[in-house]
């Protein structure tokens, strides 16, 4: 089936995903907390009123680029393709920031931690943000923006 998608990286995806899951398990079993990036980032930046202790949030957030940097060093660079303009990044960033706070989570908190817990809130949130993402990109595709 995957022969139809030669650009896909199922093996790297699965290995990277397992790493993400083990890390989220470490947060849950070690610190008793959800590894939700949006919540921890808001907490680290002093934006969220409640949540993990700030030091824990800051340590977690520092780890994210650190992990990316280590993989880039070990693999000789990570291939990325960004939009040619900063505008979609800024509009996207504003919506992601506002939306994840309003909806209490993002791909990591709702998608990984909540879905694996079979949390009804997270199952609904993930279904909605996935559907919303599919629809947004379909409209961009139809509108000739991709």
């Amino acid at each position: 089936m995957l022969a139809a998608f030669p650009h896909a990286m199922p093996v790297e995806g699965l290995i990277g995903g397992l790493g993400i899951g083990v890390a989220a398990a470490l947060m849950l079993l070690g610190l008793g907390r959800i590894a939700g990036v949006s919540g921890l980032a808001a907490r680290a930046a002093g934006i969220a009123a409640a949540g993990s202790p700030r030091g824990i949030a800051i340590a977690f957030v520092i780890g994210l680029p650190l992990g990316g940097w280590i993989v880039a060093l070990m693999t000789g660079g990570i291939k990325t393709e960004f939009p040619p303009s900063l505008i979609p990044l800024i509009i996207g960033g504003l919506l992601v920031g506002y939306g994840t706070r309003l909806g209490s989570g993002c791909t990591s908190g709702h998608g990984v931690c909540g879905m694996s817990r079979l949390s009804p809130r997270s199952l609904i949130a993930t279904a909605i943000f996935m559907a919303s993402g599919f629809l947004t990109v379909a409209l961009m595709r139809i509108g000739g923006m991709l």
């Binding site: 470490l26 990036v37 520092i62 993402g133 139809i142």
Partner: protein, 135 residues
């Protein structure tokens, strides 16, 4: 100190996993969301791979009186499906589709593509602040 180290290791492992799996690449994430285009299923493998250890962790969690490095569990207990959850998820999905980035990959990219990542992360924090001041 031990708690900071656990959080740092968890963050680093998530950052490494996102980078290794191709999820730091906005074009690849957009490719997953692009059902009408050249669809890229990689994100589904990442999600599946991450959910397996976490599902096991939840089973273990039920048997623990407290986490290994803290006094008690601090977990969300609400199961209310309310309007903020739905509207927030819709807005997040739109922003995710437009940029190809969610918070984790945005922060990971600070080490890989500092300039565009900084634009995204600054806007991300501005959006979070906007929510804070209006709620």
């Amino acid at each position: 100190m031990k708690q900071f180290l656990v959080a740092l290791i968890a963050g680093t492992l998530i950052g490494a996993g996102l980078a290794f799996s191709g999820m730091a690449d906005p074009a690849r994430v957009q490719g997953f969301l692009d059902l009408l285009g050249n669809w890229d299923p990689t994100l589904a493998f990442v999600m599946g791979g991450a959910i397996i250890p976490m599902a096991i962790a939840w089973i273990v969690q039920r048997r623990l009186a407290r986490p290994l490095a803290d006094a008690h569990f601090s977990l969300p207990e609400t199961s209310l499906i309310d309007r903020p959850l739905v509207v927030g998820a819709i807005l997040f999905g739109v922003g995710w589709g437009i940029s190809g980035l969610c918070p984790g990959p945005g922060l990971v990219n600070l080490a890989i593509n500092p300039l565009p990542a900084l634009a995204f992360v600054a806007a991300l924090l501005a959006g979070m602040i906007a929510h804070r001041v209006t709620s």
